[in-house]
């Protein structure tokens, strides 16, 4: 039995369908991140789980019990909002204890729970302040504390870190990870930040246009993106997408004469009617999968390839050197070692392994094989 079971959830506003059948089953203690750009339906799904919105069809079960039509307060969930939604007129102490107060938990017990949560979050000195007297990070902690004391079955987070500055975001991210490791509660977490998703999640659901593009562990999402969209969304800088043409069992980079041998694992494709000669495909290569190689090795190598490129822009970010290059007319970005000797205008070569090549059908956006 799953801790949270989302079954074929649909939601439409009039003729517009914002959720087109979502299915997710979560085990207890899982940290699910709903990842997507704004308008993909991830917040709507979260609100449906919380009971703040109603699904048009489908079912949601928490610990086996359907919660459709159940009032939010009776769903055994807690939610942390993007704006924190702290009660501005109540003290931090009362904010944290509010859920217990409403459930008529005796004062002593309440005090104990508040103390415990505030110790865990290191906000004990702030208990008697009003939210307006807190910094952004402190407010965030209070909001989390308010969810914590309730000890719910499921935690819901709606972009909780997006209002923080970069440094605090990093800090709170670690904090959340730590808390999850301690508490082991089931979490559903909405964000558009792929780093947050990668670092926090046990599983990620990448959403687009009301559908789940891919549901999998961070490793799967990163290493085996199921669609062009996922491949482009996860990873920074994003995966290079190169137009290639199938040419006599090899891949020719469109606009140039550079040809790559088709790696063995894609061979079966040629047998099927899926890929024929002259079929256009998208070749995906992550920037971090590219290494600097010497130009005279250009061509197919054992288990890999060396591509001749012309360097256009070189940017040192600190830990790495980001080189934007051209191969024929097409653009290729590589994350190189910071000391790589390469300069603007250089003619150079990038090496890549067979394993790091991804192929997509540009018409459907689906990955070919895996």
């Amino acid at each position: 039995m799953s801790a949270l079971d989302i079954q074929n959830i649909r939601k439409s506003y009039g003729a517009v369908e914002t959720l087109k059948g979502i299915d997710i089953a979560l085990q207890s203690g899982e940290f699910l991140v709903l990842l997507g750009s704004s308008g993909c339906g991830k917040s709507t799904l979260l609100n449906i789980i919380a009971g703040l919105a109603e699904a048009t069809s489908g079912d949601i079960r928490i610990a086996g019990r359907s919660i459709l039509g159940v009032h939010p307060k009776d769903r055994d969930i807690a939610m942390v909002f993007q704006s924190y939604a702290l009660y501005p007129n109540l003290s931090v102490r009362r904010n944290i204890g509010f859920g217990l107060e409403m459930r008529k938990v005796p004062l002593a017990e309440r005090e104990k729970a508040v103390a415990e949560a505030s110790r865990l979050l290191q906000i004990e000195p702030l208990l008697d302040r009003k939210p307006s007297q807190l910094s952004g990070g402190q407010r965030q902690r209070v909001a989390i504390g308010r969810a914590l004391v309730r000890k719910p079955q499921v935690f819901l987070f709606d972009e909780p870190l997006s209002n923080l500055d970069a440094k605090l975001r990093l800090e709170m991210r670690t904090e959340l990870k730590r808390l999850h490791q301690i508490l082991k509660t089931t979490v559903v977490y909405v964000t558009h930040d792929q780093i947050e998703a990668m670092t926090l999640a046990t599983r990620i659901a990448v959403m687009k246009d009301g559908r789940i593009e891919q549901l999998g562990t961070p490793e799967e999402i990163y290493n085996q993106p199921a669609t062009l969209y996922v491949a482009g969304f996860v990873g920074a800088p994003p995966m290079n997408m190169i137009d290639v043409e199938v040419d006599n069992g090899a891949l020719r980079i469109v606009g140039s004469e550079v040809r790559l041998r088709l790696p063995d694992r894609f061979r079966p494709l040629l047998q099927a009617p899926v890929v024929q000669d002259k079929t256009r495909l998208a070749l995906g290569i992550r920037p971090e999968a590219l290494r600097l190689a010497s130009l005279d090795q250009a061509g197919d190598q054992a288990g890999g390839h060396v591509l001749p490129v012309r360097i256009e822009v070189v940017e040192l970010t600190g830990p790495e050197l980001v080189a934007t290059a051209r191969i024929g007319p097409q653009k290729l970005t590589a994350c190189l070692a910071p000391r790589a000797r390469v300069g603007q205008g250089d003619v150079a070569a990038f090496a890549v392994d067979d394993d790091a090549l991804h192929l997509f059908d540009p018409a459907t956006g689906q990955a070919l094989l895996a």
């Binding site: 009971g51 109603e54 039509g69 009032h71």
Partner: protein, 294 residues
């Protein structure tokens, strides 16, 4: 927690307001429509159905046409003057000078003064024999002999407009001032760097921020000016020679002095229709302005 349940709850919460509004506005309005087709009198007779007679009589009467012209003059001039004076005052109050805070606070004075008190005050000021205006103007040598400000048709309406403006332009000024303060400093600074002079700056940088709030103020003030009753009732009762009789005064006369509830109702509805047409036209204007601003 279903959507329809939330809507039901919202209606329940609206219910008290709607119930009261229907009983004190909705029902009377419907009844006014009914009355307007009868020859009912205020006291006594219930009246019988007379069709559109009342409307025909009221619309064709010279009284109505003249009153409509008077009302329009009053509304157009007083509202226009309030807008211009209001914006000028706001521009002034947005400058730095000694006593600015105090002056800003004082701007609320005329607005807070009850309309009837304002009207009474100005009637005393305009008094032909002992009024302060005559005294001040003659003592300053601007006037040879005392004048009957509210007794001459060509000055009575103007005198009313001055009194109305004095009370209402500070409100426009306060609204405009709030809008001025919302103009980002960056933008005025940028325009100065770009070499815009004060007039170009007002036209292209400041005015766009004022247009929205001013249009709203314009709509509200125009509707109010068309409905004007209190100030005229207290100051002139429509005289001299009916030169300041506005639509509301005419309706009062018809429905209450002459007790012809039926034709009074028809006249009231004609006024309502006029104001509605005006408001709808303005609303379109506001929407257009909002559209072009964004």
């Amino acid at each position: 927690m279903s959507g329809s349940w939330m809507t039901t709850r919202a209606w329940l919460l609206m219910l008290p307001l709607l119930a009261v509004m229907i009983s004190v506005i909705g029902w009377p309005l419907v009844d006014t429509v009914r009355l307007s087709f009868t020859d009912a009198r205020l006291v006594g007779t219930e009246g019988s159905f007379v069709g559109l007679d009342n409307y025909a009589r009221m619309l064709s009467g010279a009284n109505f046409q003249r009153t409509l012209v008077t009302t329009t003059w009053f509304a157009v001039i007083s509202v226009a003057a309030e807008m211009v004076l209001g914006v000028l005052a706001a521009l002034l109050l947005n400058q730095q000078f000694y006593g600015r805070t105090v002056l800003r606070a004082l701007m609320i004075l005329p607005w807070a003064l009850p309309t009837v008190v304002n009207a009474t005050l100005w009637r005393l000021i305009y008094n032909p024999e002992y009024g302060a205006l005559n005294a001040a103007l003659t003592q300053a040598g601007l006037l040879d002999a005392y004048r009957s400000w509210l007794g001459e048709p060509n000055t009575a309406l103007a005198a009313l407009i001055v009194a109305d403006c004095w009370k209402n332009f500070p409100l426009v000024a306060l609204i405009a001032l709030a809008a001025l303060q919302a103009v980002p400093r960056d933008i005025t600074a940028a325009s100065m760097v770009d070499g815009a002079g004060p007039i170009a700056r007002f036209r292209f940088v400041i005015l766009p921020y004022l247009v929205g709030p001013l249009l709203v103020a314009l709509v509200l003030r125009t509707i109010e000016a068309f409905k004007v009753f209190d100030i005229i009732w207290v100051m002139t009762r429509g005289g001299p020679a009916n030169s300041t009789r506005t639509l509301s005064i005419l309706v009062y006369q018809e429905a209450f002095s002459f007790q012809r509830a039926g034709s009074g109702a028809s006249l009231a509805l004609i006024v309502t229709l006029l104001v509605t047409v005006l408001a709808v036209a303005y609303a379109a204007l506001v929407r257009k302005a909002a559209g072009s601003a964004s």
